[in-house]
Symmetry: C2
Subunit: 182 residues, 2 copies
């Protein structure tokens, strides 16, 4: 059966915390197989990600500070979808904010669940082409600590297989994009 | 700088909830770039995953019910690391519980952060080979609702690129395993 067709039965809600980007819920549930228990869940509006490719075939990534990991990760540009926003609108804005590039050509590569054990977040991954540098890039969110990094697809693949600090959504989106890269 | 080297300064802790598999924290932080605010974070012991390959070259996956997504996902066998447990011990147990297969040969493929925007979880991905079916498989956790699925690497790649419901840790681990698959 496809996703969304088998909701658990919610017996009781014991905690609901509204965070800056998602809601954290704890509920007593009855699962389709009859199991009853308390489960924690992140209710997330979704993330939108770009695999930006320059005319020269370079990928545009960011090296971004992540407080949860006390360090910096190599990632594709991405952002949290705002309420009632289309993921494509989110990532068109985030690409400009995080990298200073604008893309004229967009193509949905796919969507995938990020952490299905405890979150309903989907990542919407787009191929972004026909890039040009903005003369005046928009200002970033003040909490963002980002450096733009250009890599060839071959060098990104080497970095992933060599175990460099690269996150799941970036590895997945690169996999989805490879058939479209030169 | 490498991960773990740049902790944020914790100014205040405003919520800490101990869930069944992770801790949920809300803290006021000062980031290395000076930004101050409240951030939510999942403190997770990590997940361990197997890419199990049969002698015939088939991949062993599970189709698993996920309450957060109200449906079933195709995933590699995986489980949450218990306190003070080595990830390899976790996945050796989970592989037997979820699939009824035992593997004699294990190799670490890599580790990657799953959702660095709000979680410190790493997935430890292992290649599992020299499989044999257990005559008496261990009993599963009662909340697990799982069906074993065998697929060729080519068919899994087709399913991923066709947009079947497959999660990030499974796509990433397949990418890391491909150089080792026939």
């Amino acid at each position: 059966m496809s996703l969304g067709q088998e909701p658990p039965q919610r017996l009781k809600s014991s905690l609901s915390y509204h965070g800056r980007k998602f809601r954290f819920e704890v509920s007593q549930l009855r699962l389709p197989n009859g199991a009853i228990g308390y489960w924690e869940c992140i209710r997330h509006p979704g993330g939108a990600l770009a695999v930006p490719v320059t005319a020269a075939g370079q990928l545009v990534l960011v090296r971004q500070y992540r407080f949860a990991l006390c360090g910096r990760l190599l990632e594709f540009p991405a952002g949290t979808v705002e309420p009632d926003e289309a993921p494509l609108v989110t990532i068109q804005r985030e690409l400009e904010e995080e990298t200073g590039y604008h893309a004229d050509r967009w193509q949905l590569l796919g969507k995938f669940p990020l952490a299905p054990g405890y979150s309903d977040e989907f990542i919407y991954a787009y191929l972004a082409q026909d890039l040009h540098k903005l003369e005046v890039p928009p200002t970033r969110d003040e909490d963002e600590d980002i450096e733009v990094v250009l890599l060839s697809p071959a060098d990104l693949e080497k970095a992933i297989l060599a175990g460099e600090a690269i996150d799941a959504k970036t590895i997945c989106s690169f996999f989805l994009a490879r058939p479209h890269l030169g």
